[in-house]
């Protein structure tokens, strides 16, 4: 028993050192691009963990998840960039330097707004069959995108297809993550790039989300969600308020999405409607499904695999692109693989690549 515990501790320490050293090792390749890819992958992990609450725990299919991400990203984009001040005289008068709201305030606000929007959206559909929820969320995702694209007229709120740029970088207690920082101990100096700093920040949030997800899973609410997922009628008969619980799951997933959106906006320092297409929503669903619906390590694996895939393809696909005369570009290959993964995984391994250990009956037989 003690040996087992020591073994676990060793694995844990190695994993921790590995995760902390990863960006520094990647930096050694000479460019920031790989660290950037890992940063984006971590954001996808956050999104997938949020969606996992909705799809994995409560068994509700949300096809417009990226809309909540967009809500968060645009909230930060509007509240922490010169855009609004440039286009509205009243705001210009109040804030001559443009709006620069603190990111943590925006994050709390985004969590609340996204959660409320999620609940409003879920309220009419959640008492009905799950299929309707899929369609209405899909529709909502499109509506948000249409508004983002078109709200540059008659008054310019979202700047339309051009998007919002010059968004403030993230600061933690006055520590600006958008700049390089040099650490020097004696003669030894190391320069931290912004992407590396963001890596640690995102890692922190991912770990937070993982801990939260596990705590939720074992809580009374989490067990109630799973009961609903397995058999809604039976859950109702046990005295669960299925409608409110489903609303809670939906709202909580939306909260995750909104907060990730704020992080995304501060990381990219630019948001445009292009980042929030239906394809992105489908991609996050694919991550959860491919990895293992409702199983946290599986979901993380799925997110990392699908987020890393296009980058790997970009390097591998060259001969194929030439062979097919440009028809099979990396983008098309990526979409093909995601589509195939969704169909084939559901048919062959309906519980995903790394499913949860069996506790009685599970989501997919």
């Amino acid at each position: 028993m003690t040996q087992n515990k020591t073994g676990k501790l060793i694995v844990f320490v190695i994993a921790a050192i590995g995760l902390l050293a990863l960006p520094i090792l990647l930096q050694a390749t000479g460019s920031n691009s790989w660290v950037r890819i890992v940063d984006i992958a971590l954001l996808y992990v956050l999104l997938a963990l949020g969606l996992n609450i909705v799809v994995g725990y409560a068994g509700l299919l949300d096809l417009g998840y990226i809309a909540f991400f967009a809500v968060g990203a645009y909230m930060y984009g509007l509240l922490a960039s010169p855009h609004l001040a440039e286009h509205f005289a009243a705001i210009q008068a109040m804030f001559p330097d443009g709006l620069h709201v603190n990111i943590w305030l925006v994050m709390i606000a985004a969590a609340i707004v996204a959660g409320i929007v999620g609940m409003i959206l879920g309220a009419p559909t959640l008492k009905l069959r799950g299929d309707y929820l899929a369609i209405i969320t899909l529709g909502f995702g499109e509506i948000i995108r249409i508004f983002l694209l078109n709200l540059d007229r008659p008054v310019n709120i979202t700047n339309g297809p051009k998007g919002i740029s010059q968004i403030d970088p993230l600061t933690v207690f006055g520590f600006n993550m958008g700049q390089r920082h040099t650490l020097s101990i004696g003669d030894w100096t190391y320069t931290f790039q912004p992407v590396t700093l963001y890596y640690y920040l995102f890692l922190f949030f991912v770990i937070l989300a993982v801990v939260l997800s596990y705590r939720l899973q074992d809580s009374r609410i989490g067990r109630a969600w799973m009961a609903i997922r397995e058999d809604e009628i039976a859950a109702k008969a046990m005295g669960l308020n299925t409608r409110n619980l489903k609303l809670l799951a939906f709202g909580m997933g939306a909260t995750f999405g909104g907060m990730s959106g704020v992080l995304f906006a501060s990381f990219q320092r630019f948001v445009s409607p292009e980042s929030f297409s239906l394809m992105e929503s489908v991609m996050v669903v694919a991550m959860v499904v491919l990895g293992g619906i409702g199983h946290i390590p599986g979901v993380i694996l799925g997110a990392l695999v699908l987020a890393g895939l296009p980058e790997i393809l970009r390097h591998v696909a060259h001969p194929l692109v030439e062979l097919t005369g440009g028809r099979l570009g990396p983008e098309i290959l990526r979409q093909l693989l995601i589509a195939l993964a969704m169909v084939v995984v559901m048919l062959i391994r309906p519980k995903g690549l790394w499913p949860a250990p069996e506790h009685g009956k599970s989501l997919a037989k």
Binding site: V55, I135, I136, L138, I143, Q335, L347, L363
Partner: protein
């Protein structure tokens, strides 16, 4: 020009295309309770297939009149789509028929994406002009204009619907379909093979989608791999609006949605003083869906189980 009359004509044309697609959704949903997300993409395959056929025949300059080429292309597109939908059902949906609802739904989304990707590989992603095979001179009626294509769309929709109603209500296959929708187990005990009926449903749905796809392409003049998404989504809304599982409901819902959209596009700018323009037209379908689900979840013509197929 009379805006109201013009928008009503456009709405009827748009609505009849929605109705044809909505029928495919509603029939499949009525029998196996699955939202076939790939249905809109079957429409796209139909349109692109007919585009290829028309181009081949025009290049070969067979000397046939335009309408005949269009007819042939439509028939070939119907056959291709029928084969495609039959295969999809057999490979992707049938093995999951008894699994929980989420599994086939996710497969259906994957299938939709897969069809779009294949279309991108086969036909390349750029939008293509769809040649107009019917006379182009518009006909004026009472201050509005209607094109020959639009007249044909209305006529073909009416004929197709009549044929479908006959099939569902008067033939043995139709009776089997209605019985399976009612209760597949009991239907099987009565000597009906549910698998055959389900395959037939997918084939009929695909044929309707192919017809709608050719109509869509002829009416708007372009084809592309992503063209099936919006019509598919809206046709689903139409099906829910009419009461999902109900054939007459799908038609009523489709035409109603077409009218709402086209009148909305025509008057939204005026009503809101230019704040919201016709670029917001795609939102109507979802507002309608939200309203229907809140106020009357069973749809306009819901609960009339006898009509289900």
């Amino acid at each position: 020009m009379d805006v109201l009359l013009q928008q009503i004509i456009n709405g009827l044309v748009l609505g009849s295309m929605y109705a044809l697609v909505a029928l495919g959704y509603t029939m499949v949903y009525g029998i196996i309770g699955l939202i076939n997300f790939a249905h809109g993409d079957v429409l796209m395959v139909g349109a692109l297939t007919s585009w290829t056929i028309i181009r081949m025949m025009m290049e070969a300059s067979v000397g046939m009149p335009g309408w005949l080429i269009l007819l042939l292309a439509t028939i070939i597109a119907m056959v291709v789509c029928a084969a495609l939908n039959f295969t999809i059902e057999k490979l992707a949906y049938r093995p999951l028929r008894n699994s929980p609802r989420l599994a086939p739904l996710i497969t259906a989304i994957g299938m939709s994406l897969l069809l779009q990707t294949f279309a991108m590989i086969i036909w390349e992603p750029n939008p293509k002009a769809y040649p107009s095979m019917l006379p182009r001179e518009p006909i004026a009626i009472g201050g509005a204009v209607i094109s020959v294509t639009q007249i044909v769309i209305l006529a073909v929709t009416a004929m197709t619907l009549a044929g479908l109603m006959f099939l569902v209500n008067k033939t043995n296959l139709g009776r089997a379909m209605r019985a399976t929708a009612e209760n597949p187990r009991v239907a099987a005990l009565m000597g009906i093979k549910p698998d055959v009926v389900i395959s037939a449903t997918f084939i009929i749905g695909a044929m309707l989608a192919a017809i709608a796809g050719v109509m869509w392409a002829s009416n708007y003049g372009t084809v592309q791999h992503a063209m099936g998404f919006m019509p598919g989504l809206k046709a689903f809304v139409a099906a829910v609006m009419g009461g999902i599982g109900n054939l007459a409901g799908a038609v009523v819902g489709g035409i109603a949605l077409g009218l709402i959209e086209s009148l909305g596009a025509g008057y939204l700018g005026q009503l809101t003083g230019g704040v919201l323009g016709s670029q917001y037209v795609d939102i109507f379908a979802f507002i309608v869906l939200a309203l229907v689900l809140t106020l009357r979840p069973s749809g306009l013509l819901g609960e009339r189980v006898a009509d289900r197929a």
